[in-house]
């Protein structure tokens, strides 16, 4: 009979080299399992996770073994996908060990045979990955999957970090790191009072850390809850008598990136920078021209990485560019007209309080810094990847954050020397995100309503709209508009529709559409009730519960203004309007205002979000603002016959 699975590849190992071995939970562990999950909303529960690292030297090579041992309880059908284990690794990784056992609900135990593990490697001269696939037996509702995978890479993984943020609650997490004594390290943890336990085991440095009963993410909008994190950075390694610092400074952390950016010409091959600076008398003007040129020639497609940055020739051909590519293009254009600039890596690496003592090359975003020069005496931070950020304007999340300005100085007969300094990106202003919607309702005596809707989006709202429609045909956009319209106004029939007009330079999108709502207003005796159901908003289901546990975190400022103008039919007048409101908190404030002018009813609402972190005590007032703003949709304007 044919074997069920025919291919099995496990790394042969390195002979006498130290290696982590896969281990599984013992009987005692299973006897001590908690009966109730931490939070009922999850489809799985991680009963135990043990993460282990082993850093070691073998002859002239270095290795990192990494093991993740998880014991997971399957709580519903939605988690039976666990049977299909698929993970990707770097191409040079080796599968060192693998163990898996499943306890079915009836208590029977199935062990995954190593012959049921598939490890395949891409054939490639550059790039490529290794792929782990394993079919885990007997994954049923109620099964407990006990799984340990050990993988080795032939380098020192540095830095490493882990957030315990997950969709599944975690009963216990244990970290164990073993390092060769030739290595020194630094560790940090956040949102945890648990100290690191450090000692020496078998001649190696050993660090342990743990966390207990970490719940999965709560379903609370704008939550500020962060789970425990840990980070490890190797500080130095000893080769013979020489102690080599690793990531010992910010310059060292960014050395390789700086060299790749400033010390390589692979981006500019086949690319000739052309920037028209006719009429420019100072650097500020040239900066403006370069920024405009970047956005005229490319659309942003996401943050990207320097390592996957394409030659600028390809970037221009594609017309789409990552943030890294846009910054590179911007700097190259500037350099071509004699304005020097550097790269600024916006380093909020773990979405955590910035730690200046913990150099790391992990970054979330990238800017350019135009060096001080005539007309720009203070230098200038430029977000070349943000189309709503004219030079000097920064987004809320970037302005005042932490950055590393990195540059390289060429050396004769040697690699360029890399430098870096910590900086605080500051703009002369912040980009403004604003939504302005105006609905003009003309009502007939029989209750039919004709609506003219005018939309105006500014800042990143405009960027998002422009991006959404890029490459789409008018027919597709009209169909989407029709669907969106009837979702918020069930009886509406779209009339005139125009493609949104978006202007990159002013980060603005405008659009006008008209639609009819037959019987949209309701006749009740001598009264005509005009519902405000045109007022749709993404806040419709936000902050509905009266109480919550988490504080509020808002990542940026934004404003939404909506106006409904109701013109009564001839012989009718405005009789009743919704109640006005003004309130909220320092996080979110809202107003509802009403007026009657020249026989036309005007109902407006406004909601403003202010960047920051706010205590849960502010929730009731914040909620009141959000709900009043959202619930205006269920209100109405009442018309009466003259």
């Amino acid at each position: 009979m044919k074997r069920f699975l025919t291919v099995a590849v496990l790394a042969g190992g390195l002979g006498c080299a130290p290696a982590l071995k896969a281990t599984l939970a013992d009987e005692a562990f299973f006897k001590s399992l908690p009966a109730e999950p931490l939070r009922g909303s999850a489809t799985t529960e991680v009963l135990l996770e043990q993460e282990r690292y082993l850093y070691y030297f073998e002859q002239d090579a270095v290795f990192t073994d990494h093991a993740i041992h998880q014991v997971i309880r399957v709580r519903s059908e939605g988690a039976r996908w666990l049977a299909n284990l698929k993970r990707n690794y770097p191409r040079r990784a080796e599968l060192v060990d693998f163990a898996c056992r499943v306890r079915a609900p009836d208590g029977s135990v199935s062990t995954l045979e190593k012959a049921q593990v598939f490890w395949t490697v891409d054939e490639a001269k550059e790039g490529g990955q290794a792929h782990l696939a394993a079919a885990i037996p007997r994954v049923e509702v109620g099964s407990v999957v006990d799984l340990d995978v050990v993988v080795r890479v032939p380098w020192l993984e540095n830095p490493v970090h882990r957030s315990l943020k997950s969709n599944a609650p975690l009963q216990r997490y244990e970290l164990d790191v073993l390092l060769s004594k030739r290595l020194t390290y630094v560790m940090r943890s956040y949102h945890s009072l648990q100290p690191f336990q450090e000692n020496v085991v078998d001649g190696r440095s050993h660090v342990a850390w743990s966390a207990d009963r970490v719940p999965n993410e709560a379903d609370e909008s704008f939550s500020d809850v962060e789970p425990p994190w840990w980070l490890l950075r190797l500080h130095s390694s000893k080769w013979g008598s020489k102690n080599t610092p690793i990531l010992s400074s910010w310059a060292a952390a960014y050395e390789h990136l700086t060299a790749a950016v400033d010390g390589s010409d692979r981006w500019s091959k086949g690319f000739t920078a052309k920037l028209d600076v006719t009429g420019c008398t100072d650097a500020r003007c040239k900066v403006q021209r370069a920024w405009e040129a970047v956005h005229q020639q490319t659309d942003n497609s996401g943050v990207g990485r320097f390592w996957s940055t394409r030659p600028l020739k390809d970037v221009l051909a594609a017309g789409e560019a990552s943030s890294h590519e846009q910054v590179l293009l911007f700097r190259t254009l500037l350099a071509s007209v004699g304005v020097p600039s550097d790269t600024v890596f916006v380093t909020r690496p773990f979405d955590e309080p910035f730690d200046p003592e913990f150099p790391s090359d992990e970054h979330d975003d990238v800017l350019a810094f135009v060096r001080p020069t005539q007309g720009l005496e203070q230098g200038l931070f430029v977000d070349a990847a943000c189309e709503e950020c004219q030079p000097g304007i920064l987004r809320d999340v970037v302005d005042g954050s932490h950055g590393v300005r990195a540059w390289a100085v060429p050396r004769a007969l040697a690699e360029p020397e890399a430098f870096a300094e910590l900086v605080t990106p500051r703009g002369s202003g912040r980009s403004k995100d604003e939504e302005q919607l105006t609905y003009a309702l003309a009502v007939t005596a029989s209750g039919d309503v004709q609506v003219t809707e005018r939309r105006r989006f500014l800042g990143s709202f405009a960027t998002d709209h422009r991006r959404d429609q890029r490459g789409k045909k008018d027919s597709e956009l009209r169909e989407a508009a029709e669907r969106e319209l009837v979702a918020r106004q069930p009886n509406a029939r779209l009339g005139d529709w125009e493609r949104p007009t978006c202007t990159k330079a002013s980060a603005e999108c405008t659009q006008t559409l008209t639609y009819q709502v037959p019987s949209g207003a309701t006749l009740a005796g001598a009264r005509l009730l005009v519902p405000l159901s045109v007022l749709s908003t993404s806040f419709q289901n936000t902050m509905v519960p009266e109480a919550r546990t988490a504080g509020i975190r808002l990542k940026g400022d934004s404003v939404r203004k909506h106006v409904v103008e109701v013109t009564p039919p001839a012989g009718w007048h405005v009789a009743e309007l919704p109640a006005a409101f003004e309130g909220g908190s320092s996080a979110i404030s809202a107003t509802v205002a009403t007026s009657r002018t020249g026989g036309v009813a005007r109902v407006s609402r406004r909601i403003a979000l202010t960047q920051g972190q706010y205590p849960v005590a502010q929730y009731p007032r914040t909620r009141a603002a959000v709900r009043t703003f959202a619930d205006l949709r269920t209100g109405a304007v009442v018309l009466e016959k003259d």
Partner: protein, 637 residues
């Protein structure tokens, strides 16, 4: 390792023999002005298939050439040449690509960047691979060009499918087949009227079959539609190899018998499997249908979907004993395990190949392994009648089928072979969902009360799956129940019945609060049917309708809402609506009863697919529903 070395040599040789690119001058080619609705123009889409003998076996060497002009800066554009192959069934000999810029200069793809990697799919592991060669990015006005040379083996099992149109216009579509003397091919057409094929003879006696199409329009997306791609199906019918005269499957019966022979070696049993069958027999008793249901439920509960396909593994199930022991398998594995269990329980069944569709069944083409089926179910004989069942659709009870399996061509496997058959157009005798709401005005606004939700047939299966995917708690069931109400909802004390696999109906009950139901001005409340669930749907306007309209499987929805009016009285009661059509019906009524108002609505779909010419009628039907749902009940002082 030796094999890899030989392959590298082959690559080099073919790389040399691939020849020069044809001269292309982008500026002289048609542009955006001539194709205002297109982002890209396919200048050439050419497949050349040369059948020959290699090592005494018939093979096909296929050369695929594509030339695309990028018409607009906003167009999606190709950035790599890729070709998938399945080890044992084919190999990719060479890939190359280039970009010709608007000024006539060109950049060739760098062969050192070629990657050979596993394909990414729903399958956990298979031996399909893909070779990917990144190319330079073509700018607007540039021409992107590729050439793939590959070899295909097993001509008896695998045919060819040549797509004849795409989502962009094609200037020239060519298919050319070259056959050694005496060899014959057979063709068929799918989603296309037959097109005349040119046949010729070359000086060496080889024969050619050629299809040439010019200016093929793009097939656009249409709402509620599914693009039907016109396709030329082709297979080798007769040929001669080292073993002598060979012939393809005569017809579906021959393919059926071949499949049976391939699959039967997985039908063996094990002591554990025997024990399972005995347990099921003891549980179900002597009734064959009860036994079949028990076996079906066992497979659904114990075997998790997980596909591992190596070699012929795309068509041959794993041994039933292994599937039972390990508790995982794909559709074939599940069907085979159920087949073996049923056999032991004295119930006759046949493995059945089907194309699981997205609303529009795929008609059977030529009798080959590929291009007809993508799924395996089972045909079970009970009381002298054959019934279909799909053990991969775990939440659909025995004897019913999921929507994707309905109305589809199927081929069952048996020793003597079976003819083509078709699955029924509906899932069960009762595919229905009902809701009963008893509500009264809530002190905090909106309405509150009790909801009873019941479902049978397909709607029950769909809800069973939805509920089972989440956490098994009353709170989570309540959240899902509340998703039905667009104006917000909270649920409490929710109980559920019929969640177990194998059940034919399902019921959920609970207390609900609908805070956003109703619009309020002072003491007046306006209530619409849409507040209790949006039944409206959209049939967007289109310039021209070409595609069939897909309505989903036939089904019915019913709702009764009783609103108790503690105070106030009805000021306006919407008139009743009744819409009738051959494809469906809809009725809505509001009635006033004592201190209460009762809303009744019912929507019934009778047909899954409508011809395009009835789209306008469907739009009118949809608008009629929306108008009825939006009409308001007014309650005032």
């Amino acid at each position: 390792m030796k094999l890899r070395g030989e392959l590298a040599v082959v690559l080099v040789l073919f790389g040399c023999s691939a020849g020069r690119w044809e001269r292309v001058q982008p500026a002289s080619l048609p542009g955006a002005a001539e194709f205002p609705d297109a982002d890209r123009l396919v200048l050439l889409d050419e497949d050349e298939v040369r059948f020959s003998l290699s090592g005494g076996q018939a093979i096909a060497e296929v050369t695929e050439r594509t030339r695309i002009k990028v018409l607009r800066a906003t167009a999606d554009r190709p950035t790599s040449v890729a070709s998938v192959y399945s080890r044992g069934f084919g190999e990719v000999v060479s890939l190359r690509g280039r970009v010709v810029h608007p000024d006539g200069t060109s950049d060739e793809a760098d062969q050192s960047k070629l990657v050979d990697q596993p394909t990414s799919s729903y399958v956990l592991y298979d031996d399909d691979r893909v070779k990917v060669l990144p190319t330079p990015t073509p700018e607007a006005g540039a021409v992107w060009e590729s050439e793939v040379v590959r070899r295909r083996f097993e001509p008896k099992l695998l045919g060819f499918s040549f797509g004849l149109a795409g989502d962009q216009p094609i200037l020239e579509r060519r298919v050319k087949v070259v056959l050694p003397p005496g060899w014959e091919v057979e063709t068929a057409w799918r989603e296309s009227q037959p097109v005349a094929l040119a046949r010729g003879t070359l000086p060496d006696g080889s024969t050619t079959v050629t299809l040439e199409l010019q200016r093929v329009p793009a097939i656009a997306h249409e709402p509620l539609g599914q693009r039907a791609w016109p396709t030329l199906l082709l297979r080798l019918r007769r040929w001669r190899d080292a073993q002598g005269e060979q012939q393809a499957f005569e017809g579906p019966r021959a393919l059926s018998a071949w499949l049976h022979a391939l699959q039967r070696e997985s039908a063996g049993s094990t002591p554990e499997l025997d024990a399972v069958a005995r347990g099921l027999a003891a549980e179900a008793g002597a009734d064959p249908e009860a036994r079949a249901r028990a076996a079906h439920r066992y497979v659904c509960e114990k075997v998790q979907y997980c596909a591992i396909e190596v070699g012929l593994g795309g068509w041959r199930p794993h041994p039933a004993g292994d599937v039972q022991r390990l508790g995982y398998g794909d559709c074939k594995d599940k069907a085979m395990l159920l087949h073996v269990l049923l056999d032991k329980l004295g119930v006759e069944s046949q493995l059945t190949s089907i194309h699981s569709h997205d609303g529009k069944p795929l008609p059977f083409g030529l009798p080959t392994l590929g291009s007809n089926f993508n799924h395996e179910i089972l045909k079970v004989k009970l009381g002298g009648q054959w019934r279909f069942t799909d053990p991969t659709a775990e939440f659909v009870p025995f004897g019913e089928l999921p929507a994707n399996d309905l109305g589809a061509d199927v081929l069952s496997a048996s020793p003597a072979g079976e003819d083509l058959d078709r699955t029924p157009p509906t899932s069960s005798a009762r595919d229905e969902r009902t809701e009963e709401l008893r509500l009264s005005a809530s002190s905090s606004g909106g309405f509150a009360g009790h909801l009873t939700f019941s479902a049978w047939g397909l709607p029950a299966s769909e809800w069973r799956r939805r509920l089972a995917q989440g956490a098994p708690t009353a709170q989570e069931y309540g959240k899902k129940l509340c998703e039905r109400f667009p104006a917000g909802c909270t649920a409490d004390k929710v109980s559920a019945q019929g969640l177990e696999k194998g059940r034919t109906s399902l019921e959920l009950q609970g207390d609900v609060v609908l805070p956003g139901a109703g619009e309020r001005v002072g003491t007046t409340t306006v209530v619409r049917a849409v507040h209790f669930g949006d039944w409206g749907w959209t049939a967007p306007s289109v310039k021209e309708r070409r595609q069939d309209v897909l309505l989903g499987a036939p089904r019915a929805l019913r709702q009764d809402v009783r609103l108790e009016l503690a105070s106030g009285k009805v000021q306006a009661l919407p008139e009743a609506t009744r819409l009738e059509s051959s494809f469906g019906s809809y009725q809505l009524s509001w009635t006033s009863q004592d201190r209460a108002v009762v809303l009744h609505r019912e929507l019934r779909w009778n047909q899954a697919v409508l011809p395009p010419e009835r789209y306008a009628e469907l739009r009118t039907f949809a608008e009629g529903i929306r108008a009825a749902e939006a009409r308001a009940l007014v309650v005032g002082p």
